[in-house]
């Protein structure tokens, strides 16, 4: 294990009957990074995270988290990690502050939960019953509960599922602030955009296997065209030769509409310069970067769907 490795998974396998939920998965997570496991529902994300957390028994392989074996040393591991589950509940009539107070009391060491409440914007809701909270508030409370012991690693399973876009962005900022405090964050999501915007490193999982693992920008560079440019030629029957542009990987013309793919960072600049130089008039110019969504499409041949 490298010095700063906090999670090491090797050859993890877990089946439910004949269904191989996790099929020979290996990876490492370093201290202080936001690591994301992304993939469609049923790909094996939750099974993997729950094996690492020590909540689920696995069939084969080995897992090391902060030097502990989660299956055998759960009682030593749980005090130093924080867990937000994909699905869980609290008692209907427990108040927000009571839940925090209770969960703090379970840990040998805990931080002042009033500060966490403040940070998560739940101070006004401290006397509210759990059942009266909105979906986003419940989610924030579960995050607060995962932080009461000031954990070294925070596990967030489907953090933003069911939240509106605004609440989702607020959640991202929250995760970034955890990283700023020096915590390692391990999250799962089926939103490619979330993984791309939030994670330092991403593992793409499909049918129980990791099909790619790297930083989001590196994955896009490796597995997809970096950039897609589209424009329409104003004049008919004009020849356009973009072959000399460095980093251009494909060129497609249908009538006057031109679509270009490339993987150079300043491709747009180069294309515009080229067109201006040759005095070629163009309109309706659009340029967009590839996303992890495109990477998934490229790797699996299908779209990510919920």
């Amino acid at each position: 294990m490298k010095n700063n490795t906090v999670i090491k998974v090797e050859g993890l396998k877990k089946s439910y009957g004949s269904n191989k939920a996790v099929d020979d998965v290996s990876f490492e997570v370093s201290h202080g990074e936001i690591f994301g496991m992304v993939g469609p529902n049923g790909a094996g994300k939750t099974t993997t995270i729950e094996c690492i957390e020590g909540l689920r028994k696995f069939d084969e392989g080995s897992i090391d988290v902060l030097g502990y074996d989660p299956q055998k040393e759960g009682s030593k591991l749980k005090p130093v990690i924080g867990i937000q589950l994909q699905q869980s509940q609290l008692q209907e009539h427990i108040r927000v502050w009571e839940a925090l107070d209770l969960y703090s009391s379970i840990y040998p060491k805990s931080t002042d939960w009033n500060i966490i409440l403040e940070q998560l914007g739940l101070t006004e809701k401290r006397n509210e019953y759990f059942s009266k909270l909105s979906g986003g508030q419940k989610q924030r409370l579960f995050i607060a509960l995962s932080l009461v012991n000031d954990p070294e690693i925070v596990f967030l399973d489907e953090l933003t599922t069911g939240l509106d876009p605004q609440a989702r962005r607020a959640m991202w900022n929250l995760v970034r602030s955890m990283k700023d405090k020096g915590k390692t964050v391990y999250l799962t999501t089926h939103f490619m955009e979330e993984a791309e915007k939030l994670c330092d490193r991403v593992a793409i999982i499909d049918h129980g296997k990791i099909i790619a693992i790297d930083t989001p920008s590196e994955l896009i560079r490796k597995y997809s065209h970096n950039e897609r440019i589209e424009f329409t030629l104003v004049d008919d029957n004009i020849d356009v030769d973009l072959g000399g542009i460095e980093g251009l990987t494909s060129f497609d013309r249908t009538d006057n509409r031109i679509i270009i793919y490339g993987n150079s960072a300043d491709l747009t600049q180069k294309v515009v310069n080229h067109l201006t130089e040759k005095k070629i008039a163009f309109s309706d110019f659009r340029s967009e970067k590839s996303t992890l969504e495109d990477v998934f499409l490229k790797l699996t041949g299908r779209e990510m769907r919920d």
Binding site: L55, Q89, L90, H93, I94, Y107, F142
Partner: protein, 247 residues
């Protein structure tokens, strides 16, 4: 210990914030007491071995309360906590299963005690209830009986997969048992063939133990009941630890 205390306080609050859950447990036995009390009164009669109807009904109804809280309340709380994911969330912490089991046991025991106390007060005020036994021995028997029935509840909720199944099973065990064990209908009035069934029901031993101690018997008169209830408690507690599931 800190978490056991906090968890117990929280569970207590859950009960008083949803009082409807306690209503039946506390009120149903009282209802029986007044209905049958108004029919039979509490005159001493040789039919009940020289004491009155109420003097036998209060310990018998206490047994019914124990069956109700043990089989129904424990099962309901535990299986719904499991099904909704409350236990799953607790499992993500270092909390040990015995802490949550103990907290629920303490709260349900308090509810059981409350049921019995209300019954005693009502019996005393309305019918001049007499207690001929030893309070300490009575308390010990009451605790033993409660624990043995709570452990049945834990096993039921642990073995059955859904809250719905656990609820149906606990009702299926509870209702025939309270009528055939002598907890509601005195064993003296049961016909011969029902008395045979009566002998194999766990609740019968609670009824006999509590009724016996109430009229002044000693532990030595109830060795059989004590052995059976203690073994039930030990066996079912072991099973409930072995079959314990967080989800």
């Amino acid at each position: 210990m800190k978490s056991l205390w906090k968890l117990t306080v929280i569970e207590f609050k859950m009960f008083y914030r949803e009082p409807i859950a306690m209503f039946f447990t506390l009120v149903f036995p009282l209802m029986l007491l007044f209905i049958f009390g108004s029919i039979y009164g509490n005159e001493p009669t040789p039919f009940f071995g020289g004491v009155g109807f109420i003097d036998t009904a209060v310990p018998a109804y206490s047994a019914m309360i124990i069956a109700m809280t043990g089989l129904i309340s424990v099962t309901l709380i535990f299986s719904s906590y499991r099904e909704t994911g409350i236990l799953r969330r607790l499992h993500a912490t270092p909390l040990r299963p015995q802490t949550i089991l103990s907290a629920i046991m303490i709260i349900v025991f308090m509810l059981t005690v409350a049921g019995m106390v209300i019954l005693i007060i009502a019996g005393k005020l309305a019918y001049g209830l007499k207690f001929l036994g030893n309070p300490l021995k009575m308390t010990i028997a009451f605790i033993l009986s409660s624990m043995s029935f709570f452990s049945i509840g834990f096993v039921l909720s642990g073995v059955l997969k859904t809250a719905r199944a656990a609820q149906i099973a606990s009702n299926a065990v509870y209702f025939p048992m309270i009528f055939l064990s002598g907890a509601t209908i005195p064993r003296e009035v049961l016909p011969e063939h029902l008395r045979t069934i009566n002998q194999v029901l766990p609740l019968t031993h609670v009824v006999n133990l509590l009724r016996g101690l109430w009229v002044g018997n000693g532990f030595t008169d109830h060795i059989k009941e004590i052995i059976i209830l203690t073994s039930m408690m030990v066996i079912f507690l072991v099973i409930s630890f072995l079959t314990f599931r967080w989800d």
